[in-house]
Amino acid sequence: MRYYAAFIYIFLYAPIALIVGFSFNSGRYAMDWQGFSLQWYGKAFSNPLIVQALTTSLTIAGTTALLSAIIGTLTALGLERVSGLVRHLFDALIYIAIMVPGIVIGISTLIAFVTLFNIVNPWLLAAWNFKVEMGLWTVIAAHVLFNIAVVCLLVRARLSGMDRSLVEASEDLYATPLGTFRQIVLPLLTPSILAGFLLSFTFSFEDFIIAFFVAGPNVTLPIYVFSSIRRGVTPEINAVGAVVLFTSFALLIAAQAILQRSNRKLKGA
């Protein structure tokens, strides 16, 4: 069994290791090692197309993470207050949003947007001589859709682990409901909200499939990589891939660290 396991891990991670390794190649060709160099990182970051794509991706990821953190937290808080059928229904919907493959979200949101545009655009044109079309905001909307579920799950896990008597203690000590939310609930939820923000950022930043369907003419970094691969894999692309990988890793580790640290604190209390 151990050999199989090793083989599976090599199969999974060797390509990734190769991409990272060859991003430091000084040669011109992706798979022809000539020596160590950081030149392709320099080239990548001075390529206006890549910088443009990176800016687009960062804008989308940042906005998505912010909106998902806010809406997801509010959803979690709202779901704490309902019970029975409504709660089960929304619980199911949240899990579905996470489980549905990206390609399904991509196609279905594309169809939804196109249908919506066909309905509202004639009205908008008539009224304000203006129409809506695919752009950054459609990518953001589609990303927020499933990242809400991610944030919501994290915040709800935290809420359910929170001692209900903390809220009562705060009210007992004369804090208004809003004061209790601001001084007790929000600070205790902050680690999970932050972790949700970072995860949403990561998922949005590295997403290719959904963005590919609904980005319209915009090019995100994964879309740029995909389109340039058709012209052959260059060390420049390897460098871009390595940057995406490192960024995602860093954010995921940060999110995990925040969650673990705060859970230890809450348990120790």
Binding site: A169, S170, D172, A175, G179, L188, L266
Partner: protein, 347 residues
Amino acid sequence: MSLAENVTLRQPVVEFRNVTKRFGEVVAVDRNSLSVESGEFLSILGPSGCGKTTALRMMAGFDQPTSGKVYIRGEDVTGVPAFKRPVNMVFQHYALFPHLSVAGNVSYGLRQRRPKPSPAELQKAVGEALAMVRLEGYENRRSYELSGGQQQRVALARALINRPAVLLLDEPLAALDRKLRREMQIELQNLQRDVGITFLLVTHDQEEALSMSGRVCVMRDGRIVQTGSPRELYDRPVNRYVADFVGKSNFFAGPRPDTVVSIRPELVEIAANETALPTGLVVTLSVKVLNRIFLGEHTEYRVAHEKMGEFMVLSPRKSERGSGIFEIGDTAAAGWRPEAALVLAAN
């Protein structure tokens, strides 16, 4: 005595008038009327599920009565939420805010006031409150760095700093180990005397209620069975339930079917034979020793009599000087004075 006279002149700090609380089909608190007098230490005593915690929560404002009225300092507060009530609570598991320091926890109530007290005022008040519970210099600690007993005292300081009309304590000692519990019992009593704030404690531990409080209210199935001083409850229980719950007792068939005769085990005299028993006993029985538990200053015997059945005898070591300790299987004489036997309602 003078305290008792003062108390009668004042209006109750907290008053329940015919308060009922239903959770669906379950009646948690059933038509309770109760007055908590200013400056007293009152315990509500009862087994779990008797409605004592629900009663406490209705005083704090976390639950509202289904019917009836709650008054605090003569003012009708029925329906008023917790944050508007001048009472504070010490929670069973303390409920210290884990993201705040000890000072942040203790000053929490004062910081909700508008206008906000100045940092200097807060610092002074926190220092005094911590001194009161003997935790000077603990301001910057985190709650999770403290031991159970220290967390308990922070919770007390956090509540007392607000000088509440009444301090509500929900099984505050349940989470502490036995030795610490004894210390905290004494400390709570002293604290209550020093600060002069009314304490209302909820507990299922009869020893805790009897040792600390001036008055005890015994509850059962949502109803108040008896309220009185620990001594009254012990010496003059209104029924078998109170006699059984407050201390130990032997029960024998009463003169009527709905009555029982209750005799405290320590009021039963035991000796080697009838002539060795003290004089003035109304009943003397020849009994057989079935079991013996050595309790240090006392020995507890389980004995049997032909007609009366089995009962308990608590014999002080002092009285054993003549007779010596009895062995299992020994025959002995037991008896009691007329005033030891109480005829009580069976229910």
